[in-house]
Amino acid sequence: MSDEFKAVKLTDRVWWVGAIDWNIRDFHGYTTKRGSTYNAYLILADKITLVDTVKAPFMDEMMARIASVIDPAKIDYVISNHSELDHSGSLPKVFAAVKPEKVFASAAGAKTLGEIFHAGPAITPVKDGETLSLGNLTLQFLETRMLHWPDSMFAYLVEEKLLFSQDAFGMHLATSERFADEIDPSILRYEAATYYANILLPYSPLVSKLVDRVEKLGLAFAMIAPDHGPIWRKDVATIIDRYVRWAARRPSKKAVVCYATMWRSTEMMARAIAEGLAASGVSVQFMGMDVHHRSDVAYELLDAAAFIVGSSTLNNNMLPQMADVMSYAKGLRPAHLIGAAFGSYGWSGESVRQLQDILSEMKVELVTDGIRAKHVPDASMLQTCYSLGKLTAEKMQEKMRF
């Protein structure tokens, strides 16, 4: 086993033994511009415990980091807080290599792991609120269903006040630093928000409930150790506050104009709408889908108040780039948006109606009926688009009293 990979100490009894994926750029359709990490943690209690594993190709890196602290064969317990393959992928091989006494997961996790690995390791299900004695230390489990899978749970190391939060409070960010307080705060804010928008946004009501529940339980956190990105140490309160705000999905004075165009006609309309919004003091994110990625649109929607979408009509349909982002945005269930649809066409012009139907399914409140321009918009059509921008800004104002 190679020995250049070392564990990193969190406390005297807890070590990071994860893996760094510097080069990943596509995480099931979410663009990860700064790579990611898969975090696993080793608890050196009487019962030596491994919390989560890593994506299958990174198992050797994790095992080497474990071996820098202890002989991996000494691991007694393995905890699976989240069954998704970036955290469970190594589980069967770890099980075979380490032969732990027990593997623990939530009841839903035990079921999911069975459905993933079939003849995989036997899993001992744990209940919400249950504690597990590690001899001199204690783990307490908290189910966090649908944050962001049904199996998701937190494990809290009582004596160290350390929360293993699986994907919650995480981000896709590959760094050589292991602690958030060693990293540029603006990068942390951006990557944590992008992660929230792309992974947790649909389950925001559950995030709010969870934060309330944790407060009621009176749990204090000296550290939060997520399954991706850096560990929160000095800035635990900052990331929790951000989650509270993101979960509330409070819009800001921002509009997202998102479009796809064939011969620049729809783009001319988009520009006029953006100018109308900006002239009214609204901050505009102008996103042509030939150059922007759906996960960047998701980030912008996290605190947007308006979502204005446009597409040319191609063969009686919206352009595929718009079908892509609309399907993605709908799934993420952004809330409290107003919006409208626009687009140019040659003879049939179905795209605007199609976009508008998706906006309605997303419960986006329509500012006005969609605007369609035949072939190339003339000056009067561009004025109509500019007015749509102004009208949207007015409605934002009314709704939010900026």
Binding site: A108, R145, M146, P150, Y203, P205, L206, K363
Partner: protein
């Protein structure tokens, strides 16, 4: 009227409240929910629900 809880995400369907966001009026018992109604939180089908 009996409340039903989603076995996937823990959402509770309360007939007294209904699910007005999805066109289900207050006072609709669980058994009378339309075909194709799904959990408004996680999208699981009616078969995932059980009495609270």
């Amino acid at each position: 009227m009996e409340k039903y809880v989603c076995g996937i995400c823990g959402y509770v369907y309360d007939p007294a409240v209904g699910d007005p966001d999805n066109g289900v009026a207050a006072g609709t018992p669980f058994a009378k929910l339309p075909d194709g109604w799904v959990c408004p939180l996680c999208g699981a089908g009616k078969e995932e629900f059980s009495p609270e």
